[in-house]
């Protein structure tokens, strides 16, 4: 069953086209990576799928709901971890999680139950009462993803989840993301090749707002006639007109 479907999804900002006639399908339980350089249109795509931007043309559906006409229904089934961590700085880790659970309308008991569960799953116990502003980058990202998961969404959007993290924090976060695989549909944007390679079921390469290649790692490697993702990415991107200046946005 398709959990996400877009048909000719396009977003223009004035003269510039950030996302250009994007048509993709993401199956239920799949971890789908949007791989591209800065400005390729990955974040704009995530914004449209999470009802934060309206498409200039085309359509997007999440769990069968239209992102434009049924945004309320879409928002009930998605979780978003934005590129910036977006946590409440003066609230503790537990309070941030409880706050997000309360926003989804759970009862007091449910809020506590869900917070306890997610804290255990993400091993947040040791920083439970620490204010978010005092957390390291890695812990903040973990908290941000945990906040996106508190409502038990069917679809999770992770926008550059490991951007700016050191290698250890990145690997730790990968382990957490891997644990989520199969439990929900995940769309992850990244410009780290090894991240897409390590985590994804399928990868889509975005260049100048367009998906120029999509498939499993093996299919992408075959298309780029390369034996590693970086070489394949460069070959595909260059063939499709990316001059390395960051696309057309």
């Amino acid at each position: 069953m398709s959990m996400i479907e877009t048909k000719d999804l396009t977003r223009r900002y004035g003269e510039k086209t950030a996302v250009d006639r994007l048509s993709l399908t993401v199956e239920e339980g799949e971890l789908f990576a949007l791989l591209g350089v800065n400005g390729a249109g990955k974040t704009t795509t995530i914004r449209m799928l999470s009802c934060l931007s309206k498409p200039s043309s085309g359509e997007a559906f999440v769990d069968g709901y239209s992102c434009t006409a049924e945004s309320k229904a879409v928002k009930q089934v998605i979780g978003l971890s934005p590129q910036d961590t977006a946590v409440a700085d003066h609230l503790t880790v537990r309070e941030n999680l409880e706050f997000m659970a309360a926003v989804y309308g759970y009862t007091k008991d449910e809020v506590k139950q869900k917070t306890d569960r997610i804290m255990e799953e993400f091993h947040l116990g040791e920083v439970e009462n620490q204010r978010a502003q005092t957390l390291s980058g890695g812990w903040k990202r973990k908290l941000s993803i945990a906040m996106a998961l508190i409502s038990e969404p069917k679809v999770l959007f992770l926008d550059e989840p490991t951007l700016g993290l050191d290698v250890l924090a990145r690997r730790e976060l990968w382990r957490e993301i891997e644990k989520l695989k199969g439990k929900m549909t995940i769309v992850l944007t990244t410009h780290y090749m090894e991240e897409a390679e390590h985590l994804s079921d399928r990868i889509a390469i975005m260049v100048s707002g367009r998906i120029v290649a999509a498939g499993t790692l093996q299919e992408i490697l075959a298309k780029g006639s390369a034996d590693n993702l970086e070489d394949a990415f460069v070959a595909i991107a260059e063939t499709n007109g990316d001059d390395g200046t960051g696309g057309n946005v």
């Binding site: 928002k75 971890s81 934005p82 910036d84 977006a86 609230l91 706050f99 309360a102």
Partner: protein, 256 residues
């Protein structure tokens, strides 16, 4: 817990855990209360200047304190908007009314608590320096100043929605200066006359202190209490509607 209550609770915690809130919203107004009380002791009685007499000063400082709550409202809203926190919140089922009420309610509670503390300090000062303020008058004045608090918070909400994290506090500072000078906090506007009094009467701030001071004296005359209070209530209601509409429109624009 509903969405609005959850967001209000988050905002209350964010403000109360910021040490600057206590400095600006509590310590500074209380310090001004003490300083102006000392100034009052140096003013000869023959001058007839009563604006710093504790019964008048208490209300002036209470209104002055509310302007700092406005500043923190502007700061909180503009900071939320400039970062990605609101982006995350926009992707949840929260609606525009949840946001505006979620900002307004905790700020109103903070402004009320601030005024209670200022009035308690004023009562103690009045017992020491005289004239002793009627506690019942202070209680009535506390309630009288609620619309004034709503008005200032809505100005903060409006500036925080429309302007950046850098611009909003600056604009709020202008309102702090305007409201304290033209609202009769630091001088008795009724004794000025001419253009000055006309300007004071055009702006709503003058009516905040006027209604509050009349309430302290338990003077409920139409001219001195009812009309000023009505003007403040109408301004607060109008600003609340404008701030809500502007926030909704900005949110819609952000999501377009």
């Amino acid at each position: 817990m509903n969405r609005m209550t959850a967001f209000a609770d988050r905002n209350r915690k964010e403000i109360l855990r910021d040490p600057l809130s206590y400095i600006f919203c509590l310590a500074f107004p209380l310090a001004m209360l003490l300083v102006m009380t000392l100034v009052n002791t140096s003013i000869p009685k023959e001058s007839g200047m009563t604006v710093f007499r504790i019964d008048n000063l208490a209300v002036g400082i209470a209104v002055f304190g509310q302007t700092f709550v406005m500043l923190f409202t502007g700061l909180t809203v503009s900071k939320d908007r400039s970062g990605s926190f609101l982006v995350r919140m926009y992707a949840t089922p929260m609606e525009s009314a949840d946001f505006t009420m979620g900002y307004l309610l905790p700020m109103l509670a903070i402004a009320f608590a601030q005024n209670v503390l200022i009035y308690l300090a004023s009562l103690v000062i009045s017992l020491i320096t005289g004239p002793v303020i009627n506690p019942l008058g202070l209680l009535v004045s506390l309630v009288t100043l609620i619309p004034s608090a709503v008005m200032f918070i809505c100005i903060g909400l409006l500036f925080g929605t429309l302007f950046s994290e850098k611009a909003a506090p600056g604009l709020c500072s202008i309102i702090i200066s305007l409201s304290s000078f033209l609202g009769g906090v630091w001088f008795d506007a009724d004794h000025t006359g001419g253009v000055m009094l006309t300007i004071c009467r055009i702006l709503p701030f003058y009516y905040c202190t006027r209604a509050g001071r009349s309430a302290v004296r338990l003077d409920f005359e139409t001219d001195t209490f009812m009309i000023p209070l009505l003007i403040v209530v109408l301004c607060a209601a109008a600003l609340a509607v404008v701030a809500s509409l502007v926030f909704r429109s900005k949110m819609k624009a952000d999501l377009s």
